[in-house]
């Protein structure tokens, strides 16, 4: 019999890992109830305000000519970005055989699915007549209506729809062996549910072989898909002939930004999760150090993009581009633009210091700042270019109303509520992969 650390026999260590990870799915404590309650209230406020907006019309949002894309589209891009990195982190780390993946893959995949659910709502919130959102869907109909395939918004429907499907399948397939474990440990109705979800998993060699092949296929498929989908989101902007938007670098810039913000969100979620569920043995400081390096790397790519964008606006001597970028850092939204640079480019540089990468409190603060910075980045890109385009006669400005702020907070409430429900109902770490590394 093999003996590992602490002299514990292999089956005992496996059982301990199963017990420790499934313990998170026990009875909710006061902290969980408080968190879930708060998130639910935020979500409710968002829902009520959306209903108010539907009743009164889009006028209750702060949209003014020429700023007709603002906080809602910012939220859409922000949540899509968060969503994109989840599967990417999980799939890419799997393809690169990075062992620390086991600490983050489940959290990242869950984050993807929930963030996409939130993101998908915002184009609908943004519509004047939300109830006819299905016009965007390419289905045969008797009215001879057909979607405009030249519209980048239609590309979004396809891209996000495909991505949601693949991410959900990837998330679910990864959990099948864990459902089988969970059904062994649980009783009553939960046992029955996990049994159904495990699809008759027995852990035979044949099942493992098929599982490994499918998982590898999904990881290999998801990786380029992620890049393509966020490129499509970036083209919502880049395809328009607007100073500050129409630039070739937008696709890789948005993809890097998505991984950056998603990595930050994973850290934001997993640091408290590890503490609350006593998972220090499975999610170690070394693992956090590795993911902090990814955050630093993607921050450098994002910073490179900022430098190139500003640099080429100056280099090209195109008066419209130059003015758009001058307005971005010196106009009405300059404080937000500088905060964006501080959060996304300067603060992450401190992660070059190993000690800081391994300091959980510091890492949490950095990840929160990056989340704020990435939201601001999207806001600044969207609003400044619209507010200050070619013709000074139509220049304007924008400030969000309480409806937009409330719906935005509601989206955070929805995301965290879904996440807290996930923590109590599904294994937060991949049990089988953790056992592989014991």
């Amino acid at each position: 019999m093999n003996r590992g650390e602490g002299g514990m026999e292999t089956p005992d260590r496996y059982a301990k890992a199963e017990r420790d990870i499934l313990a998170a799915m026990g009875k909710p404590g006061k902290a969980w109830l408080a968190g879930a309650g708060f998130a639910a209230v935020l979500m409710l406020i968002g829902g009520v305000l959306w209903a108010y907006q539907i009743r009164e019309g889009l006028g209750v949002a702060g949209y003014t000519h020429p700023v007709n894309w603002a906080v809602y589209i910012t939220n859409f891009v922000f949540w899509v970005g968060i969503a994109h990195s989840g599967t990417l982190i999980s799939a890419v780390l799997f393809l690169f055989r990075a062992k620390f993946r086991t600490s983050f893959n489940r959290a990242a995949e869950a984050m993807t699915v929930f963030a996409l659910m939130v993101a998908g709502l915002f184009p609908i919130v943004h519509l004047g007549r939300s109830w006819v959102f299905y016009y965007l869907l390419p289905y045969p109909n008797q009215r001879q209506l057909w979607v405009n395939f030249r519209s980048p918004l239609i590309w979004d429907v396809f891209a996000v729809g495909t991505y949601f499907t693949v991410s959900l399948v990837f998330f679910y397939v990864g959990m099948i062996p864990d459902f089988a474990v969970a059904q062994r440990w649980k009783e009553g109705i939960r046992k029955k549910v996990y049994k159904v979800l495990s699809l008759g998993w027995k852990g035979t060699d044949r099942q493992w072989r098929h599982y490994a092949m499918l998982y590898l296929f999904l990881a290999a498929f998801a990786t380029p898909l992620v890049a393509s989908v966020h490129s499509v989101v970036s083209w919502d902007f880049a395809m328009s002939i607007l100073p500050g938007w129409h630039t070739t670098i937008f696709a890789p810039y948005f993809v890097a930004g998505a991984i950056f913000s998603g990595t930050a969100m994973v850290i934001t979620l997993v640091i408290p999760l590890r503490k609350a569920l006593n998972l220090q043995e499975y999610v170690t400081d070394d693992h956090f150090e590795s993911i902090a390096k990814i955050m630093l790397f993607t921050s450098l790519i994002v910073t490179y993009s900022y430098i190139v964008e500003f640099g080429l606006a100056w280099y090209g001597e195109n008066p419209f581009e130059t003015e758009a970028f001058r307005y971005r850092i010196a106009g009405n939204f300059r404080y937000l633009a500088w905060a964006m640079i501080f959060c996304n480019s300067l603060v992450p540089l401190t992660l070059f210091v190993r000690k800081l990468r391994r300091n959980m409190a510091y890492l949490l603060i950095v990840s929160l700042l990056v989340n704020v910075g990435m939201w601001l980045e999207r806001f600044v890109i969207i609003v400044t270019s619209l507010a200050h385009d070619y013709d000074p006669y139509v220049w304007g400005t924008y400030s969000p109303t309480f409806v937009e702020v409330g719906i935005s907070l509601g989206s955070f409430g929805m995301f965290f509520l879904l996440y807290l429900l996930f923590v109590k109902n599904l294994p937060v770490l991949s049990i089988t992969e953790i056992k592989e590394h014991l």
Binding site: P252, S305, L312
Partner: protein, 343 residues
């Protein structure tokens, strides 16, 4: 041959001789001689910096395959000095740049040559420091990261200055990123060729599902072919969809007349379709012939693509270019051949 190259100073002499030949050809009494020098220089910078960047990237992530080709990849470091020398030879050619008659703050001859030479020398210095560090040590990782930072800056400058400013005021913000990704792609292709050159044909066929250094390199080439295609498409689509005359002209000049149209298609085939399709089957990833084909395709694609970038803006002396490119390739082979050992 290897014994000769192992002798002290022989490689330096070979580089000097090769450099001299390239320099002489750039002064050939033919209208496109300087253009062919610029193209050879661009190819040299792309592959040499890419080889070192591949080793540095592998070092950073503890890639297993780096051990097999680290010495060969880092043996090309002196070629960066040659590149800096060749860059100085382009000074008389700078009048061909459209901004030369109306220089500005950024685009003026002295600053232009100065900054590009400086970054080539910085790349050389950081690459030397990286090459001198013991493999796998923390120091090597730190030095690798410094090299990669300089690599990104140097490749971006190459793209924006040497290539993009030939068509000033045409701009593409992605061109810098496109160049350093392509250079890294070329570096992985060269790594695969070095591996086959030095390690020879694997003695036994790998077991199904097993990993070899060659298959790891093939996976990287395969992945980078997709990434290259993604960047190419992002750049192309934004320009084509935007349909602004001053932007679209760049593409139109390259696809509306022969032979540039055929060469543009060839670059697309060589840099994406061939490596992607050849390396798609699992077994091909560890098959020496398939991997060689993909690697040669990528390196040829880089050369042809550079030609497509330059040809509408400058005249190129083709016989001179052919000899210069052969010189550059022989120097790569000589540098790698000098380090036959495994680390």
């Amino acid at each position: 041959m290897r014994a000769l190259l192992e002798r002290k100073g022989v490689l330096a002499a070979a580089i000097a001789a090769g450099g001299a030949l390239v320099a002489v050809l750039s002064r050939w009494p033919s209208p496109g001689a300087s253009g062919s020098l610029l193209l050879s220089l661009l190819f040299l910078i792309a592959v040499a910096e890419g080889c070192i960047a591949a080793a540095a990237a592998g070092e950073m992530v503890n890639a297993r395959w780096v051990g097999s080709v680290r010495k060969e990849l880092l043996s090309v470091v002196p070629l960066l000095l040659l590149a800096a020398f060749l860059l100085l030879l382009t000074i008389p050619f700078l009048d061909a740049y459209p901004w030369a008659r109306h220089p500005g703050k950024w685009l003026r001859k002295d600053f232009f040559i100065g900054r590009n030479a400086l970054f080539l020398l910085l790349a050389y210095a950081t690459a030397m420091r990286f090459a001198a560090s013991p493999p796998g040590a923390e120091e090597a990782k730190r030095r690798a990261s410094w090299y990669l930072l300089v690599f990104v800056a140097s490749q971006s400058l190459t793209a924006f200055d040497l290539v993009m400013s030939l068509e000033y005021p045409w701009i593409s913000a992605l061109l810098g990123g496109f160049f350093f990704v392509e250079s890294l792609f070329a570096g992985f292709a060269a790594s695969a060729l070095f591996y086959l050159l030095v390690q020879g044909r694997p003695a036994t066929a790998p077991e199904p599902g097993s990993r070899s250094d060659l298959s790891d390199l093939s996976v990287l080439m395969f992945g980078f072919s997709l990434m290259w295609a993604g960047l190419f498409f992002a750049q192309f689509l934004t320009i084509w969809y935007g349909n602004i005359p001053e932007e679209v002209g760049f593409i139109a000049r390259r696809v509306s007349s022969s032979p540039l149209r055929e060469l543009s298609v060839a670059a697309l085939l060589l840099l994406f379709f061939i490596p992607f399709l050849v390396l798609l089957p699992t077994r091909a990833k560890s098959h020496p012939l398939a991997v060689s084909l993909a690697a040669v395709s990528v390196l040829s694609g880089v050369a042809i693509e550079r030609y497509v970038f330059l040809a509408p803006a400058v005249r190129i002396f083709l016989p001179g270019l052919a000899i210069q490119l052969v010189c550059v390739l022989l120097l790569f082979a000589a540098a790698a051949h000098r380090n036959p050992g495994r680390s």
